[in-house]
Symmetry: C2
Subunit: 114 residues, 2 copies
């Protein structure tokens, strides 16, 4: 199983998080699990990568964070819920364009017959 992690991910994680949040808000651990699920076991993403990414994105105004209310029915550790902002939505569109350009160019270079 080719593991996707580290340098390969650099610069691509933010778009992936934006994309996951487009389907609905979610807390950090949930975003992590959604990404790992979507990665089908090949995506090795750690908490230590995701949480700092979320903080950067919050600072950049791409996502808005709130603490889950105390009086929610569930028990367990508090969760911080992230949602896309308008700016984040625009950034997602740009991320998709960048991804397509990137995948097109690198794909062509990697796959073109010798």
């Amino acid at each position: 199983m080719a593991d996707i992690q580290g340098n390969l991910l650099r610069g691509h994680l933010e778009g992936m998080v934006l994309s996951v949040l487009e389907r609905g808000e979610g807390h950090g651990y949930e975003i992590l699990k959604r990404l790992q699920d979507l990665g089908n076991g090949a995506l090795e993403l750690r908490e230590g990568s995701l949480y700092p990414a979320l903080y950067r994105m919050e600072e950049a105004g791409l996502v808005q964070a709130r603490w889950e209310s105390d009086d929610s029915p569930r028990r367990g550790p508090r969760r911080r819920i992230y949602a896309l902002t308008e700016k984040g939505r625009r950034e997602l569109l740009r991320s998709r364009e960048t991804w397509r350009a990137f995948a097109g160019v690198v794909g062509r270079i990697m796959e073109e017959p010798a």
Copy 2:
């Protein structure tokens, strides 16, 4: 034009260089131009990224380098010519697999309808 550079490239450059060299040996500057051509103006790759990458790859035994002979017919700065080694060829196969896995996973996450 979406520019492909910096963090986006991290971890992907080595495979691209291997792939370009599969089509035939070449010197550093030539590899740079070939990549920029293949990138159709979108790939912003600098010498300061490529040369160190070539040194790393030489050290890792993926490519073999030699100085162009002095008595070659052309005039101009000396060139250092890089060629794939057997190990480099094997690594290229692995790079392609990794690329496909990466592009598949990230593509699915980026493009999947919300």
